[in-house]
């Protein structure tokens, strides 16, 4: 999906590559940051000797010590609140929230403190805290382990919200999140943790694509399909299936949700005239609504059909045995493509 050549300032000849999972790519990104910036700390529940429940921090405490890879008490608000204090003191804490549904005890610290301190201090204080959250469903989990809370954070000024869809982006984006002077909500598509790809292991500080740029990951001409995190994979599978029926889908990976790179989306839709937005989070008040509104505002006369949204229902996330009826499937994406093409 992405290649070394996508990234400015690197060349495939000089940079080692390794075929790794998305989870391992994050580990390697964290390791690089820990090795090169002594102010970087990891904090979370079970991230030390256990290496995290998804093993994303595997081996890092042994390598960097318990002062830099900190097993915290079991209290999410405490993790975020102390991370804010450490950031005020000049550290760059990277907090792991074990599962998406467990971020809410920390929601107050994230929205009323982390998001506002830079503004409250008129720029005198920066709080470069990264909040890593495995998010999304599809892994057959119990309640509170499959949620997609991204809009709650994207609606909060002061936070950046990003989600990598590929191992290559996971490796660079976690490093860019750590280097950002702003707080970053880093949403890891846990359903894609085990996807493998070649990743260019660029040195720390290598400029990446940035935490404000979407990317066209598959060119096409009939319909633009917009996804992020786990649904980029779904969109690409839908594109392969549509291709067999002679419909050409252009797939855009948003990569970042706040800010949202409308320019790349609008440019794509200007070319195709049709747009489908796919996310696991509920459709109502979702990222799809924001994309649809902006596409309508900015390229109304180029649109051949209303923007279609595919996502979760306005229900509680359902039990695992029926989660695939809730999640946006390839078939539901293709159904939306058909609706768009029917106009």
């Amino acid at each position: 999906m992405t290649t070394t050549a996508d990234r400015a300032g690197t060349s495939s000849s000089s940079v080692p590559t390794e075929k790794v999972t998305l989870a391992r790519a994050i580990t390697l990104g964290l390791r690089t940051a820990l090795a090169h910036d002594p102010s970087v700390l990891l904090m979370g529940e079970d991230i030390g000797r256990l290496g995290g429940v998804f093993r994303v921090t595997d081996g890092l405490q042994a390598e960097f010590g318990a002062d830099r890879v900190v097993d915290t008490p079991l209290a999410e608000s405490g993790i975020l609140g102390t991370a804010i204090g450490l950031a005020m003191r000049g550290y760059r804490p990277v907090c792991e929230i074990q599962f998406d549904g467990f971020v809410f005890p920390a929601f107050d610290q994230i929205t009323t403190m982390l998001a506002k301190l830079h503004a409250r201090s008129r720029g005198r204080i920066t709080v470069p805290v990264v909040v890593r959250i495995p998010f999304g469903g599809g892994i057959g989990a119990v309640e509170h382990h499959s949620e997609s809370p991204e809009v709650l954070f994207a609606h909060t000024a002061g936070l950046r919200v990003v989600s990598p869809a590929t191992p290559a982006d996971a490796y660079t984006m976690i490093q860019e999140a750590i280097a950002s002077p702003d707080p970053v909500i880093f949403l890891e598509p846990k359903g894609r943790y085990w996807d493998k790809a070649e990743v260019a292991l660029t040195p720390y500080g290598t400029p990446g694509a940035g935490l404000d740029k979407a990317r066209v990951v598959r060119p096409g001409s009939d319909v633009t399909v917009v996804g992020y995190g786990p649904t980029v994979h779904t969109a690409l599978k839908a594109a392969a299936a549509a291709d067999a029926e002679g419909i050409s889908l252009e797939v855009v990976d948003l990569r970042t949700i706040s800010p949202l790179d409308h320019a790349t989306v609008v440019e794509s839709v200007r070319g195709t005239g049709r747009c489908v937005v796919v996310h696991e989070a509920p459709v109502q008040h979702g990222v799809g609504a924001e994309v649809a509104a902006r596409v309508t505002e900015e390229c109304f006369y180029e649109l051949e059909a209303p923007v279609q949204r595919v996502g979760g229902f306005h229900t509680q996330y359902p039990p695992a045995r029926i989660e695939h009826d809730y999640l946006p499937s390839v078939d539901r994406v293709l159904h939306a493509v058909d609706r768009a093409m029917a106009f």
Binding site: L86, R122, R124
Partner: protein, 366 residues
């Protein structure tokens, strides 16, 4: 549970084997300094309350009655220490050197902060009750990693003091702060001013046991002090900060005091508390207490009091003039510090707003 007291309400010095040495070096000049700081803090309180009544401030949070706890504890801090105040700690801010006019920017509606935290090592307060002690603990954990704890060098060893109230102790974040402080042995002091009331709710609703026992439950050494006794407040804080500096971990202090005024200028305490309760606490006024002690020692000469009166009035004038001079910020300033690095949405909304404003200025149709 014992309550540490070095000065009775009548102004009599009582001996205390554990704490006497903490105040032995305080001569008459130092005590007059404490007295002046309490008087100035109260004068600020009176002036800010008046400014609110005149419509110059939207709100104010009076500290009247809590001057000894605040001034005493703040004087026990070293310059390299950091204070994380709540929104009623005007005495602490004054002692640390924060211009009290800056405290009123929030209440005037021109800023959500007010001062540069780095200048006097005093963090900004938040209106979210109990959210900041966690920041204090995290900051203290940073000091540990910076190697400025337990070095044995009094000029270098640092710690943090978090100010909170009786109501805040019920917040989950405060319990988490105690958990994290205990787990990390962070150099932090939790200074709880139990002023008996969380707006209209008495402390008995927050806790069935003395608040000091909260600290013990978390395995944190605890002390209860007469918060209207500036000497005792100084002594227990000095001991706790020394523990922090030496790397011996956190301390929990309950300073028993009383909020003699309203919770805020929007509050009406006549609706929920009795006159005789207020009168009983007025008899224990922290300023009167030190005045009686100094008077009986013949250490409160008339020229000092006259000078203090002049300083009080100068402070009041400074506060009045400062508030009157505070004008609304530029509307576009709301976009200035949303993020520390460029954010495309904020940039485009700012550009739109500026265009919209200029369109209005030109009388364009909208």
């Amino acid at each position: 549970m014992e309550t540490v007291q070095l000065l009775t309400p009548e102004g009599t010095r009582v001996a205390d084997a554990r704490y006497d040495h903490r105040v032995a070096h305080l001569d008459a000049d130092a005590l007059r300094g404490f007295y002046a700081d309490m008087v100035l803090t109260r004068r600020f309180d009176t002036e800010a309350t008046a400014l609110q009544r005149q419509g110059e401030l939207g709100l104010f949070t009076p500290s009247m009655g809590q001057e000894a706890a605040q001034v005493g504890s703040a004087h026990a801090l070293a310059p390299q220490d950091w204070a994380f105040p709540a929104y009623r700690e005007h005495g602490v801010l004054h002692v640390r050197g924060v211009d009290l006019v800056d405290v009123l920017k929030q209440f005037r509606g021109v800023e959500h902060g007010g001062w540069d935290p780095a200048e006097h090592h005093v963090h900004l307060f938040t209106l979210v009750v109990g959210a900041h002690p966690l920041h204090a603990v995290g900051y203290a954990m940073g000091m540990q990693r910076d190697g400025v704890v337990g070095t044995g060098d009094p000029q270098r060893d640092a710690g943090v003091i978090a100010y909170l109230g009786d109501g805040a102790t019920s917040q989950g974040d405060v319990s988490e702060a105690l958990v994290f402080a205990g787990a990390s042995d962070a150099p932090v002091v939790f200074f709880v001013q139990n002023n008996q009331w969380a707006i209209s709710v008495p402390v008995g609703t927050q806790s069935k046991v003395p608040l000091a026992q909260r600290g013990q439950g978390f395995g944190i050494p605890t002390v209860r002090v007469d918060g209207n006794d500036v000497l005792a407040s100084y002594a227990v804080t000095a001991e706790a900060m020394e523990r922090a500096h030496r790397g011996h971990g956190p301390t929990f202090i309950e300073a028993v005091t009383y909020r003699m005024g309203a919770h805020t200028t929007s509050d009406d305490p006549l609706r929920y508390r009795e006159d005789d309760e207020v009168a009983a606490w007025r008899a224990k006024d922290p300023i009167d207490r030190l005045r009686r002690y100094l008077e009986s020692a013949g250490e409160l000469p008339q020229d000092f009091l006259a000078d203090l009166e002049a300083r009080s009035e100068a402070l009041a004038r400074h506060v009045r003039d400062g508030v009157h001079a505070m004008t609304a910020p530029e509307p576009t300033s709301m976009f200035d510090h949303v993020y520390a690095s460029p954010h495309s949405l904020v940039q485009s909304e700012r550009a739109w707003f500026e265009q919209y404003e200029s369109g209005l200025a030109e009388g364009g149709a909208r």
